[in-house]
Symmetry: C2
Subunit: 697 residues, 2 copies
């Protein structure tokens, strides 16, 4: 099957082009749908304008960042003896552009699908589901297709301009770094934006002005709706784009370095991740057609229809992995490793659902504890989050041990690829959520009949479940990817893998790595508070200064609220982002300086950086799971009470649950997910600059 191996890159290129075309066609179908009455279009138009404003502002900031880093990479690449290829910069810029494009298209279609979902839901539940899910599918497919397309093209280019295969593979890591640059803005900045708008809108609207949620008189309501898309479409998409791309790149790099693959199977090992990804893309696209439902579907029916799609895709990918593994003669070990990763992803999703869905005991017990007051529900929620770290860690431990036993370092990287092989459809179930949520908001604001709101509520509620599962999946895949990247980094430094475990540089590196996620989370949590405060000031100003606003006679100035959220989100993300980018670079520089045999070498070395990567990996993993699951459980405990349990809305239990939910908001939507970016960023930056550390080592 040497033909397949030699042409794997062509296969992935063609498949990814198909994916892009499919997504664009689906987009046209969505845009051809009925977009409702004038009032609905007006509201949706405001959300579209807000999203556009956010993206323009964000991408301007990203462009500056990408430009500066690109120049630095170019300088490093041209520096004689740096060991880095100047072509890294091409990969870097491509990664940034591809991820930005996927995010742009996904957001663009999401904010146009919301109104069409509302209109479709006024006809039937299934039609509403199909429009909303189609929007998610555009995003999911676009992410996967553009990532694979970028990697495929780059492999052609890099292999033709860089003679050394290992150096070419290392330059390819620039693609992952470029994708991370987008992710840090979309996930961290976006996470701050979405919660600042949400909290800000609630603080003044519900608490001070006593107007309901999604009331068009609230000047921050559009920012809140934009925020849902920013967080769960662009943010989640960029996060998983990066994991997806980086896991493939790490697998190629490790295969090229000959770790865990036989000497005559290196080319096959480098081809395998591309082919698995291509197969996953095709399977995912096909399985989206399984997602449909009947009228009067219960919540279980709806969930079952989504799961039919995801599980069928998983099963088919297993088949594809077995067939491809045999065709490429990579041995059973590689197949087992890849499937272990896929199974781990599904299992982590289950675990997340168990801890955060109110159909299971943990969240029900949490809701019951709300009768003891706010302090008790906070303590119980934190304890729930802490306990919930055990299954995902256990799952990753088992998957890593199996994968490494079956196929060494290459196996670990392929486990990450396997986990993300069904990303197209997994992300579709995720990115569909905010569309349904927005559709409900539009139905409310446009005063559509109650059945519409009921249908969109059903779709929204389903979206909450998939969002929770998606968060667990995002963390798990980030950890697997970071582990693969770290392996690739250590291999690429050429220092050999034997280190002195009692080297103080390693243990202090671990300590530094462990503290970074805590610092990062503190910064992002405080950022939400600061940004929300600015929204509050602006909303109060509009209520005061715009005559007739409260009476519904005048329109509020939505744009200013969006602009304020955007500006403060981007300002507040600078400090945490700077810490994440600077840490590996500073340590690497000190390690290089210390290599000359001077005193610094006793305090800082490559061991320090390895310690930082491993320390941040384990610390961010546990902290991120805790934050995501505490937050998810508080959210659902509140909703559980709002459905009439334990005294229902307005009871003391409900008030306590609202406190829990408010604490949980930045936990689950800002700080927790931001940690995914932190741990991958540290690893990908290290991998990109690995040649600097390798020269003269």
């Amino acid at each position: 099957m040497d033909f397949i191996i030699a042409n794997a890159n062509w296969v992935s290129l063609v498949v990814s082009v198909f994916g892009v075309v499919f997504a664009l066609v689906l987009r046209s179908w969505i845009l051809s749908q009925d977009s409702g009455n004038e009032r609905m279009m007006k509201i949706s138009g405001a959300v579209q304008k807000g999203a556009q404003a956010f993206l323009s502002r964000e991408y301007r900031a990203v462009a500056i960042f990408v430009g500066v880093v690109a120049v630095l990479l170019l300088v490093l690449g041209l520096l004689p003896g740096s060991g880095m290829s100047p072509w890294t910069v091409l990969a870097f810029v491509s990664g940034a552009v591809a991820s930005a494009l996927a995010g742009y298209i996904g957001m663009n279609v999401a904010v146009r699908s919301n109104v069409r979902t509302a209109a479709a839901a006024s006809r039937s539940l299934n039609q509403g589901l199909r429009v909303a899910f189609a929007s998610g599918t555009v995003m999911g497919t676009m992410v996967v297709a553009l990532a694979l397309l970028g990697i495929s093209i780059l492999i052609f280019v890099l292999n033709s301009v860089i003679p050394d295969r290992a150096a070419a593979a290392n330059a390819l890591a620039g693609f992952g770094f470029g994708a991370t640059s987008i992710a840090i803005f979309a996930r961290v900045g976006g996470g701050i934006f979405t919660k600042a708008a949400d909290v800000g809108a609630d603080l003044v609207g519900k608490t001070e002005a006593n107007i309901p949620e999604d009331d068009p008189r609230n000047p921050a309501v559009i920012a809140d709706n934009v925020g849902d898309n920013v967080g769960d479409v662009a943010g989640m998409g960029s996060d998983l784009f990066e994991s997806y791309a980086s896991s493939i790149i790490a697998a190629i790099a490790i295969a090229t370095l000959g770790q865990g693959v036989a000497a005559d199977r290196i080319a096959a090992g480098a081809a395998f991740p591309l082919l698995v990804a291509a197969a996953g893309l095709l399977i995912g696209v096909g399985c989206t057609y399984l997602v449909r439902t009947e009228e009067n579907a219960t919540q279980e029916n709806l969930l079952a229809s989504l799961r039919r799609g995801v599980y069928t895709a998983s099963a088919l990918v297993v088949v594809a992995v077995v067939v491809l593994g045999l065709l490429l003669d990579l041995g059973l070990g590689v197949v087992i490793a890849t499937i272990a990763g896929l199974a781990a992803g599904v299992a982590i999703g289950y675990s997340t659902e168990y801890f955060t869905s109110d159909t299971y005991r943990p969240t029900q017990e949490l809701a019951e504890s709300s009768t003891g007051g706010p302090a008790i529900i906070i303590i119980r929620g934190l304890a729930l989050g802490m306990r919930s770290t055990v299954p995902p860690v256990a799952i990753v431990v088992v998957a890593v041990l199996i994968a490494a036993y079956a196929a060494g370092l290459y196996g670990v990287a392929m486990a990450a690829v396997g986990m993300l092989a069904t990303l197209g459809i997994t992300l579709a179930t995720d990115a569909y959520g905010p569309v349904a949520d927005n559709a409900g908001g539009i139905a409310e604001m446009a005063e559509l009949e109650d059945t519409v709101r009921e249908r969109t509520d059903a779709l929204d509620s389903l979206g909450n479940t998939t969002a929770a599962t998606g968060k667990g999946f995002a963390i798990g895949s980030a950890v697997m990817t970071a582990l693969a990247l770290t392996s690739a980094f250590v291999t690429a430094t050429g220092m050999g893998t034997e280190v002195n475990i009692l080297d103080p540089r390693l243990s202090t590196g671990l300590l530094i790595g462990a503290v970074l996620p805590f610092l990062f989370s503190a910064q992002t949590m405080l950022a939400v508070g600061k940004a929300a405060q600015q929204i509050v000031v602006e909303v109060r100003r509009q209520f005061r200064e715009i005559p007739g606003l409260m009476e519904g006679k005048a329109d509020p100035d939505y744009e200013t609220c969006v602009a304020i959220s955007t500006d403060s989100a981007i300002r507040e993300m600078v400090a945490p982002a700077a810490i994440a980018v600077a840490t590996p670079i500073v340590i690497a520089l000190l390690a290089i300086i210390g290599r000359g045999g001077n005193v610094i070498g006793n305090f800082v070395g490559v061991e320090t950086l390895i310690g930082v990567l491993l320390g941040s990996l384990i610390s961010a993993f546990t902290l991120a799971v805790m934050m995501a699951n505490s937050g998810g459980a508080w959210d659902n405990a509140k909703k559980y009470i709002e459905r009439g349990n334990l005294g229902g809305k307005g009871s003391d239990a409900h008030k306590a649950a609202v406190v829990g939910d408010t604490v949980g908001d930045p936990f689950k939507d800002t700080s927790g997910p931001s940690l995914n970016i932190l741990l991958k960023l540290l690893a990908i930056v290290s991998l990109v600059i690995a040649p600097l550390l390798a020269t003269g080592a």
Copy 2:
């Protein structure tokens, strides 16, 4: 100076005997003080009885645990080829007995000093301070003296019965393990007891029955007072006893194995920690006489008087370290390493104070955020705790790098010894707190005049500051000790220190280690809630069933509340303790099984255990600091508001701050401090069973 080296053990023996005698004399002096009027004696008598009941019950449970472990150790020691000495069991039992004895004497004198402090405070502030501080000094000196005495005697015995010095040093580790057995009961069980009683008393007393704090009609009030002593005297004492003993043992073990000391300086290296400890004991005792104050002293004066004692002791220990280091010809490096540890301890104390005292911005800002409601103060408090992890980690990183650069692994162990060299007086400032707190309670219950309560309040408030500093110090020293123990463990396995950093057993070990503190904290947090609930039920029962209780005509049944708290605390600590003890043992057993070249060896090895130790170290460190400092800051933010700031007692800000304080209680007094025990326990158990892993490796 070979004479000193040869007789270092005699020196430490004589000095520690002096310490024991000094503490007993001081105890007699305290008991000779005026013990107040009949009513005061009655209340104090109830606390004494409660403390006695708690200790008897706890020590019965400990005895069973110690007995079982002793039998296991004996069997392992007698097993041919296990590599472990049967004498380990002697060291183990000695460690348990010595720590239990120190805790018993310390608690015994503390619950007798409270009433005498109240009586002395009715004469003058200085007299109150002197009695309370004398009680702390008895505890501090007893801990240090009994630890040093036990180690000194054991060295004589073990060196005479075990020919091999390295094996003798390893058997000595049993002493630390014995001390840990006490610590896990006193710190974890005690932590659950103290907060269950506190929360339980408040929930029914303040909230339901509307009676003030420290009201003698509340059946749980005595349990609450007992709890203060259980947590901050017995718990803190046993925690630091263990750190103190283990750091000395680790230094001796590492010196004996010749790590970081020249071949002809091994005996000197083993003598040095004993001599530094002995010098520290004498200096500490002397400096307690510097702690006195004037009448009408401000809070600053009081703090200054305590600091005069501690800082003078630190300065004198530095002199002693320099002199001893030169006399023993160990070189400047060892001296620098030891002083680096001492300085780190002081710096960590400062950092804790900065983040938790309301004289600094962080806690003031936290208090201000309470105006935004309970959710905001929770978010801000968690963020504060997360940020506060940075300085202690940075301090430990710097201290470890300096110590390792100056004197290798031996330097790291000596840094831990140096940090704990002033423990006698540091612990005195800590253990004094609950005495002052109890004295205030007695003054309240016995209706003494207002000036007495004002004076005891001043003393109590000072105790809160020292308690916060002490917590930081306890964590820092636990981390340094665990690091030294881990180094000793790796060295003792004889596997060599070179490991494959990408070995999946290492990375999965790190992951398992990282998740343990989260699981442990969740368990202990939930345990407090469950135990408090049982107190609530009992208090309600007494209010209902004892006629005349609410009118003050009948006495409540204090003993039952103490018994319930004790029983539930001991029951609830079983699960977390079992996890901590079982984890290293199970992994070690699997590693031994896997050594035969079978499949298990691919999944579990000594590398896994090393990973667990390092992973839990960094995870527990950051989590413990976060919990302790969040909790401390919430507590002080509440007190800041209660002093009339931001609306004072009863305002909405105060209500929000109370929520923060309630969340913080199990954080800072149960879960946070319990993590110290977890990380040391994992390391000491591993070190004790290291010979099993070494044989045939």
